[in-house]
Amino acid sequence: MSMECEKFLEQSYSSVGGQSADFAAHLAICPACQKNLEIVNSLQKSRAPLDSSEMSEIFSIVNSSEAGAIIGMASAKATTASFGVGKISFWIAALLLLVPMAYFALFFESSQSIENSFSDSKGISIPNAVIDAEKIEELESLIARFEKENAGTASEAAANDLLLAKKMLVLGKELAHTHAEITKLLSSSDSDSDSDSINKEAFEKLMNKYDKQKIDFVILINSLRETGNKTRDWLSEADFPVINLPATGEEENAF
C-alpha cells in the first residue's frame, strides 16, 4: 500500500462522512485501492445473517431494557455493594434463593405445567395455579427474622440485601396476585359465555400487567447474576422459566 493509498485509508471504507473528491480521483487511477474496495465489499456481502440463537439473545436484551433497565441496575448496584464484603450470611442466601423458589413453586404446583422456557416465546396456556400462601408466609417470616437478627449491626450490606430480598418478595406476591386474577377471570368466562367480549378485554389487560411484572421479576433475578457470587451459581443451575403472553389466536382459544 502506497503512502498515497494510506492517506485515504480512513475514508475508503467509511459510511460516515462520505468520500472526498481527492479520494474519488485517486480511486479512479489506483488498481490496488479498487481491489481493496472490492475485497471489503465482498466481506460485507458474505456476512451470514443473525441465526435464531443470536436473535433469541437479542430479544432477551431488548426485553430487559424495555421493562426497566433502571430497576435492574439499581438492584445490581445494591447487590454488588452488598456482596463486595465477600461474605454472605446463611439468611441472605436463604432469602435470595427462596424467593425465586417460591415463585417457581407458585406455578409448578399448578395442574398444568408451564412448558415454555426463556428461549421459547411461543406462548403458554394459563395454568389453574393454586396460590401457596404458606410459601409467602414462610418468606415473610424469614425476612422478619433476618431483620431482627441484623437490627443491632446497622450493616449497610445487610440492609441492601434485605432491601433486595423484600423487593423480590413484593414482586413475587404481585405476580401471584395477578395470576390469581387471570385464573379467576378464566373460570368465570367458562360459566358465562355472554360476557366473552368484556372478559377478553379484561383478560388482555391482565395478561399485559402480568407480563410486565414478570419481566421486572426476571430483571431482578438477572441482576443477581451480575454479582458473580455463589447466589449466581445457584440461580444459574435453576432452569428459570419465563411465562410469555399467549401467541396471537390463543386468547380466543382460552375463552
Binding site: 500500500m1 494510506e6 485509508l9 471489503v40 458474505s46 456476512r47 437479542i58 433497565a69 433502571i70
Partner: protein, 166 residues
Amino acid sequence: MVNSQKEFEDQVKETYRSLKLFLRYLGVNQGEVADVAHEVYIKALKAYKDSYNDSRSFKNWLFAIAKNTLIDQKRNRNALKNTVSIDFSTTYVSSFTEVIQSQFAMKELVGILEEKDQMIVEFRFFQDLPFKEIASLMDMSEGAVKMRTGRILNKLREKIEQGKDS
C-alpha cells in the same frame, strides 16, 4: 444516537455479534459471552442516558464499556492481555457464508488472519469505527491500527491473486 426503544433494538442487532467477538477476544469464555454481553448492553444504555456526550457514538460507548467491565472484573488492565481465545478465528469465520461460485471463499480468506487482525476487520469494516477508537479499544496506537489495516488488505489481496494463479 439511541433515542427510542426501536433505535436501541437496531443498535443491538447491528452490534451484537461484534460485541460477542470482542468479548471473546478479551478472553471471556464462550459459555459466559451471552451473559456478559447482556450486562454490557444494559450498562451502556444506562450510561448513555445518564452521561451521554455527543462526541461519541453509542457503539463507541458500548465497546468501551465492554472493555472497562472486564478490566473492573479482572482489576488489572494487564490481565486482559494474552487472553485471546485460541478458537477466535473459528468463531469469527463461522459468521461468513460460503459463497458458491465465488472467485474465492471468504471464510477461508478471513481464516488466514490473526485474531487481532480479525478484530480490526470487524471494528473497521463492519462497525465503521474510526481508527482512533479502534486503537483505544485494542490498546494500540492509531498509526499501528492504520498500518495493520493496510497490511490486512494487502494480505487478502495477495491471497486472492495466489488463488487466481493456481
